[in-house]
């Protein structure tokens, strides 16, 4: 255990100042000047993106700071070699020789920063040329090179190659690439942001404009309504005469119909009353196959009785009043003139009653001579009474006709005004929804709305339509499975715009509704770069877009890591 202190590489990197140790186990340090902190400058003379490292200064400070293995320079002063060592938690004091002697004396592991003796110690690797690292001390001398400078494997026999320089170089290159990417991206982002802001302004202006239009349209609507009402008053008055004529005609028609119906009923009664005793009985009905409701080939007493309104027999009046409505459809059906409303409808008379009721209700104010059994679904809604029923194609006198025409014109004008208000309202609604969406602090994500991006893996095509939905489609078919519907931004607290959640997708068999997390990173173009399903029915899209290339991402933090402490 002679090498209690770091044996640190003596070479000095072109860019970085390095730790240098001397023979007496003391560490000489070339401290990196705080004032010479590396930064990025853009050479504005060149149009192309060029990042260069600014000049920095190394001050050479000779210090005699002894540093136990695994301790960072900033904590070196906590280990004065000329004094007894006290655990940081104060739990024990011991001769300094017990520091890093491969036996854990402190509960807080502070006596063994450079060995694996304590279960939860921390080992610091300087990794000169690259990022320094704190690793769990249980990785010390386990045969695996964890630190790029190899300092964690000083007694395991593992042959670690110091590759910090390479790592540092590639990290810096990566950082530079990243910085370039971010820079290029920021320009696009600015454009996107501008588009977004413009779009928002447009929408806002449009919104205001529409608000105003809406007021105008509403006024117009009121006006047209007034005119329509006035015209209809005149029209109504003029049509009163014709309406009376119409009612009379209708009444007459109804009476005729009733008489015809009664005659028909009487005739049927006579026909059914086989024994001419003035009563129709169950037995008599049983001989008529028309009454075989269940089509089983015979008319059961129950079936017959149903037609007789649960009586054993009925006389003519009773037949007309309470049986005819049940009997008639079956006779008609038998003669092919009637199709029942639904095949399983056994309460024919009730259904018919209901139909009549509906019909009357809906055609109120109309003279209606249609067959009661006619389908009435196509009856239109009328806000105003139609002046004339087609079947009563009455010819009005010239003056009346004029009033009717004027009223028609007024009605059309009102309907048009009304439609315009509705149109404006729905347009407003759409704009409102757009304006309520969060397209980023500078509207930079707004241009993504309305676009869709695809990602093809070997089996599926994945689609992201930002602010709308995510979905998946097998390459072998066209059926699309929705993986999520736009929900909300869901990045970490530091930047919620780093992720989006699309939830309430299609329900998984035997499982939950599908959801998608879209992680968003800076990229030179809008693109899905990978899709995975880490949990069943929980998808993760990695999406890059220039919209995510913002100022905090210019790579400073990465380069800071690279030369921490130096």
């Amino acid at each position: 255990m002679s090498d209690k202190y770091d044996m640190v590489d003596k070479t000095i990197d072109d860019v970085y100042c390095r730790l240098v140790d001397n023979v007496s186990d003391k560490v000489e340090v070339l401290l990196f000047s705080k004032t010479g902190r590396m930064g990025l400058q853009r050479n504005s003379n060149l149009n192309k993106t060029l990042l260069i490292f600014s000049v920095f200064v190394c001050e050479t400070i000779s210090s005699q700071v002894p540093r136990p293995r695994g301790v960072s320079l900033s904590r070196a002063s906590l280990y004065p070699p000329d004094k007894d060592f006290t655990c940081f938690d104060g739990s024990a004091t011991m001769p300094f020789s017990k520091v890093n002697d491969d036996y854990c004396d402190c509960y807080d592991a502070s006596d063994e920063p450079g060995t694996a003796a304590c279960p939860h110690g921390i080992f610091y690797c300087t990794n000169a040329g690259y990022k320094p690292m704190n690793i769990p001390s249980n990785r010390v001398n386990d045969g695996i090179c964890d630190c790029c400078d190899g300092t964690d494997e000083y007694a395991s026999g593992a042959e670690c190659v110091n590759n910090c320089a390479e790592l540092g170089k590639s990290a810096r290159e990566a950082a530079q690439l990243r910085a370039e990417l971010v820079k290029a991206g920021r320009q696009v982002r600015a454009e996107m942001s501008q588009k977004g802001v413009n779009a928002k302004n447009e929408k806002q202006n449009k919104h205001q404009e529409l608000q105003k239009n809406k007021e105008d349209a509403e006024k117009l609507k009121e006006e047209k309504e007034y005119l329509k009402n006035e015209a209809e008053k005149l029209e109504n008055a003029a049509l009163e005469y014709y309406r009376k004529l119409e009612e009379e005609a209708k009444k007459k028609k109804v009476e005729e119909e009733a008489a015809k119906n009664r005659a028909e009923a009487e005739e049927t009664f006579k026909k059914l009353d086989s024994n001419q005793d003035g009563l129709v009985s169950i037995e008599e009905l049983q001989t008529r196959t028309s009454f075989d409701k269940d089509h089983n080939g015979e008319v059961s007493p129950e079936e017959a009785k149903w037609f007789l309104n649960d009586q054993e027999q009925v006389d003519l009046d009773a037949f007309i009043n309470s049986c005819w409505t049940s009997v008639k459809p079956y006779l008609l059906m038998d003669s092919g003139m009637y199709t029942p409303p639904s095949p399983d409808d056994t309460t024919g008379s009730e259904a018919q009653d209901m139909q009549e009721g509906q019909h009357e209700g809906e055609s109120e104010g109309n003279e209606d001579e249609e067959e009661e059994t006619e389908d009435d679904e196509d009856t239109e809604e009328h806000e105003a009474p139609e002046p004339v029923h087609e079947e009563y194609s009455v010819t009005y006198d010239e003056e009346t006709q004029k009033l009717v025409d004027q009223a028609n014109t007024a009605r059309t004008a009102f309907q048009d005004a009304e439609a315009q208000v509705r149109d404006i309202e729905s347009e407003l609604q759409r704009i409102q929804e757009y304006l309520e969406k969060d397209f980023g602090p500078e509207e930079e994500f707004a241009p993504l709305q309305g676009q869709c991006f695809e990602y093809h893996d070997h089996e599926y095509i994945y689609k992201l339509c930002p602010f709308d939905r995510t979905c998946q489609q097998p390459k072998s078919s066209s059926s699309e499975t929705r993986l999520g519907t736009w929900g909300h931004w869901s990045g970490p607290e530091s930047n919620k715009y780093h992720a989006q959640t699309y939830d309430k997708g299609q329900i998984c068999w035997n499982g939950p509704a599908r959801t998608t997390i879209v992680n968003i990173d800076c990229g030179s173009e809008n693109k899905i770069i990978s899709v995975s399903e880490p949990n069943r029915c929980e998808y993760v899209f990695e999406f890059v877009t220039p919209a995510a290339c913002h100022d905090q991402l210019d790579g400073d933090d990465i380069r800071d890591d690279l030369h921490d402490e130096l």
């Binding site: 002697d101 491969d102 036996y103 694996a116 003796a117 279960p119 769990p136 249980n138 990785r139 001398n141 386990d142 045969g143 695996i144 395991s156 070997h458 035997n510 499982g511 995975s532 399903e533 880490p534 949990n535 069943r536």
Partner: protein, 901 residues
């Protein structure tokens, strides 16, 4: 009565996941079980003809006659080395040969000398050591006496029955009256939509055996049931028939994946084992006199007293009747006797005892890499990553999905770079796909199991239409083992091991989800004859493949289907359990039962395979699994991801502590496995095994002993703040809580428990060698130092062992190992090598912790050959519960002593 009230609540609680019982037969639905369970005779019709007797040094052979059918059988009774009697019954001139399992026994049992001590026309008595067996002629009955105590009686209840093979009567001819078998299923039977043609007709065998004085019976794995066997009268018998039971339920005698037909009848006085060496479908009725007033009369018949007894009725569908009576007298003896017949597990590689991380499925090779990386980031150890069926190219075993696993070599290298390993699944069903080399080879060379008409059998399994390799054909095994060669199974290396699943075999569209019984194996055996042995035959092929592939590495195979003898080749796990407290609770009982059945290398999937465990259940499961030999987390494809690093800091901490505790005890597990191989003693033990005289431990199965030094009590009760633990041994026994070193005497203790608490004790009198330095994986701990935990008994002494070698190769069989005997007495700890062996190691002694140490110790000196005499620092822990000796620093290869002053 209180217990009856509890049942409906449990039932409701476990309703969410439930087995479809209708898919599996009851005894009543199985013709031979129905027939033989119903076989009753006032007096057994079976009689010996002792005039026809052949006696040799090791055996006697005589004739048995069914006096009702006049069918003849030969009976042999032989002595097997190690206090075992073997009785075999077979037909004389039978119509067809009968099957005797080929793979269960570890070679032919070693005969022992037997002498006739008494003989008449009515009986003959033979003696072997202090064991006697008496054959009674009329009716047939065999009594077994140990040290002058009657311990077992075969056919005491007259249930012995042997359906000799016969020709099927044509419809016109009446069957010979006295040979008639009335059961409608005797000659063919149907279950659900499946037809069993039974070309050989009825062939059932049955016998009862009664154990006078016994208080409990144990064994007969595999069942998801409590450790002590329950009385089955009026209910379903225990069933042994390897089946893939979807969502199996606990507290049930239903058959599941494995079958080990060995039973132990136990009382504080003596323990006897009974091994029913048969691979066909088997049902066992158990009657314990404590549950049955009726039994007392039967017992009186046998023993003439009113003492307790246990009786078992074994019923099998076919095969020779081959039985071993393991004469005990203690559980340890009987279990070792069983091990002497069926063999032991060879020492596994060290890493196999560490933590395994599995899931159906890790999506792709990046997923595998990232899971391990996350374990490292969160500083939790893991040794082995597992790949379930989705790694294959379309469920074609020995292939890789080219999209998800395009570079298995790269993935494996990534794992091994931090000492990790990979296990991949290989099932016995083969996809019937043109162009799949394995299928084409199998068709071309006739490797598949056949239908009864000689055509290749096709069933449905993961790949869809599949056929099944017939491992009964030596040429198939030769071919199959070659598939594991690195040039055949591309992407595998010495660090890739094998998981054999679905080998009951599971057939999705077969009767009871398995293969039809009238299928034909090599040697013209029906599947009916060999069914329970099929998985074993499969894993033997794999074992041979791995040995040939990696001759310097001990194989590791995990199997689901298993049989007596499987321990020689594989570890097993309790199959597709569920994320339910009841499944955690049953895991110790299931593995303890397997351990008694010779299979110590057992575990239950942490977290439960089906369903999503809540955080409390998951943590408790990790804590409990520290103390089972095989420690693996696994999960169904429909469940949420549950790698332990995904959870809150609290949960992560608790799991990390549990995993580190496991890794700290790996030297103990490893030593116990070494000792298992050399002695046959199980690695984990139910309490009655170590404390046979203690009536209080008879029914305890939520506690388990790891070796004889550690007692673990699982917490399978949600939301508890106090648990009750029974510590055996009485007031003179000293137990030490492994976390706070608190000492408890034998007896029942209520212990407060938080979610952090892992309830485990070291037994006074033991020295446990641990490696307390955590690492990412076990292979990175090889050179780390030991801490010796000395748990003193009330005589202030303790002893222990420690086995050390290269953790991987067969070199230990060439004396390249260290086997330490550690002893503490007279305030001195000494270490000596037990065998004259050597293994150069860097491992050294970092610390000694003495529980309940002598007072007033001021210093210690270490003496060894190379270090001479060195002074060591000592310090008492708080409240003087323990004394810590600081850094002895001696290499464990070197004998040493440490004396306290």
């Amino acid at each position: 009565m209180a217990f009856l009230r509890v049942i409906p609540i449990l039932y409701v609680a476990s309703c969410s996941l439930a087995v479809v019982k209708e898919n599996f037969k009851t005894c009543e639905q199985s013709s031979f079980c129905r027939r033989l369970r119903g076989f009753k005779a006032e007096v057994s019709p079976y009689q010996l003809d002792l005039t026809d007797l052949l006696v040799t040094d090791n055996a006697l052979e005589t004739k048995l006659i069914n006096t009702e059918t006049n069918s003849h059988f030969k009976v042999s009774l032989s002595a097997v080395h190690g206090d075992i009697f073997r009785i075999q019954v077979d037909e004389v001139m039978g119509l067809y040969p009968r099957y005797n399992p080929q793979y269960a026994l570890n070679g032919e049992p070693q005969p022992a000398k037997l002498r006739v001590v008494d003989k008449s026309k009515e009986h003959i008595t033979v003696q072997y050591s202090d064991n006697k067996a008496t054959l009674h002629a009329k009716p047939f009955k065999v009594e077994f006496v140990k040290d002058d105590n009657l311990v077992a009686v075969l056919n005491s209840r007259g249930l012995f029955h042997f359906e000799h093979y016969r020709t099927r009567p044509t419809e016109s001819e009446n069957e010979v009256e006295h040979q008639k078998i009335e059961d409608p299923g005797a000659w063919e039977e149907n279950f659900k939509s499946h037809h069993d043609s039974k070309p050989k007709g009825p062939s059932g065998i049955a016998v009862d055996i009664t154990f006078p004085g016994a208080m409990r019976a144990y064994g007969l794995p595999e069942h998801a049931d409590k450790l002590p066997l329950r009385t089955t009268n009026g209910g379903e018998p225990y069933r042994l028939y390897n089946l893939d039971v979807f969502e199996y339920e606990v507290d049930s005698p239903m058959a599941i994946y494995g079958a080990v037909p060995v039973l132990y009848a136990h009382s504080p006085k003596h323990t006897v084992g009974f091994f029913w060496h048969n691979a066909a479908e088997t049902w066992i009725d158990i009657t314990n006199s404590k549950d049955e007033n009726v039994m007392s009369s039967l017992v009186n018949l046998v023993s003439g007293s009113k003492e307790s007894s246990v009786s078992a009725h074994f019923i099998s569908e076919s095969g020779i009747m081959d039985m071993f009576v393991l004469m005990g007298p203690k559980p340890r003896d009987a279990v070792k006797q069983y091990a002497s017949l069926t063999g032991v597990a060879p020492l596994p590689q060290y890493f196999t005892l560490a933590y395994h991380q599995c899931r159906w499925n890790y999506n792709d090779q990046d997923d595998v890499t990232s899971v391990v990386a996350n374990f490292d980031i969160h500083d939790m150890p893991v040794d082995i990553m597992w790949l379930d069926i989705e790694y294959t190219d379309g469920k074609k075993y020995f292939t890789w999905d080219p999209v998800k696993f395009p570079n298995p070599d790269e993935m494996v290298n990534n794992l091994t770079s931090t000492g990790r390993k990979l296990v991949v699944i290989i099932d016995p069903h083969i996809k019937r796909e043109a162009g799949y080399f394995l299928h084409e080879d199998a068709v071309a060379n006739d490797y598949y199991v056949k239908n009864k008409d000689g055509t290749v059998y096709e069933g449905w399994c993961w790949p869809g239409s599949s056929s099944y390799l017939d491992f009964y054909d030596p040429k198939v095994v030769d071919y199959y083992k070659g598939l594991y060669a690195f040039d055949k199974f591309k992407g595998t290396t010495d660090d890739v091991y094998i998981w054999n699943d679905m080998n009951e075999p599971s057939v999705f569209n077969g009767p009871e989800i398995t293969m039809p019984k009238d299928c034909i194996h090599h040697g013209n055996w029906e599947h009916r004859d060999i069914h329970n042995e099929y998985a074993l035959s499969h894993t033997i092929g794999t074992f041979k493949g791995l040995v040939e592939r990696s001759p310097t590495r001990r194989p590791f195979i995990l199997t689901r289907g298993h049989f007596a003898g499987s321990q020689r080749y594989t570890a097993m796990w309790t199959g597709d359990n569920a994320a339910d407290w009841s499944h955690l609770a049953i895991s110790y009982a299931m593995c303890a039962s397997e351990a008694l059945g010779g299979i110590s290398f057992c575990g239950a999937d942490i977290g439960g395979f089906f369903g999503n465990p809540d955080m409390e259940l998951l943590q408790r499961w990790y804590q409990a699994a520290v103390w089972l030999p095989f420690m693996r987390a696994h999960a169904h494809i429909d469940t949420r991801r549950r790698e332990p690093y995904l959870f809150s800091e609290d949960v992560k901490n608790r799991v990390r502590i549990a995993l580190r505790l496991r890794y700290a005890h790996l030297p103990l597990w490893y030593t116990l496995f070494y000792e298992h191989e050399t002695t046959g003693e199980p690695v984990i033990r139910p309490l009655f095994y170590e404390f046979p005289e203690e009536a209080e431990v008879l029914d305890i199965d939520n506690e388990i002993l790891v070796g004889n030094a550690v007692l673990a009590r699982m917490i399978a009760e949600p939301g508890v703040s106090t648990i009750s633990v029974y510590l055996p041994g009485g007031p003179t026994e000293q137990w030490y809580d492994i976390e706070d070193f608190k000492m408890y005497q034998g007896g029942t203790h209520n212990i407060p428990v938080s979610l952090d608490k892992i309830v485990a004790f070291y037994r006074g009198g033991n020295i446990i060698a641990r490696k307390d330095r955590p690492r990412r994986s076990s292979s990175l701990m090889h050179n780390d130092p030991f801490t010796l935990y000395v748990a003193l008994d009330n005589k202030q002494t303790a002893s222990g062992t420690l086995f050390v070698d290269d953790h991987a190769s067969f070199e230990y069989r060439a004396k390249k190992y260290l086997y330490l005997h550690l002893e503490y007495a007279d305030n001195t700890l000494t270490s000596n090598l037990i065998d004259k062996t050597d293994y150069p190691t860097k491992e050294w002694v970092e610390r000694v912790v003495i529980f309940k140490p002598p007072p007033g110790v001021k210093a210690a000196t270490l003496t060894s050959k190379t270090l001479g005499t060195v002074d060591l620092e000592v310090a008492y822990t708080r409240e003087h519960k323990a004394l810590v000796i600081r850094k002895p620093g001696v290499n464990i290869r070197e004998p040493f002593s440490i004396k306290l002053y």
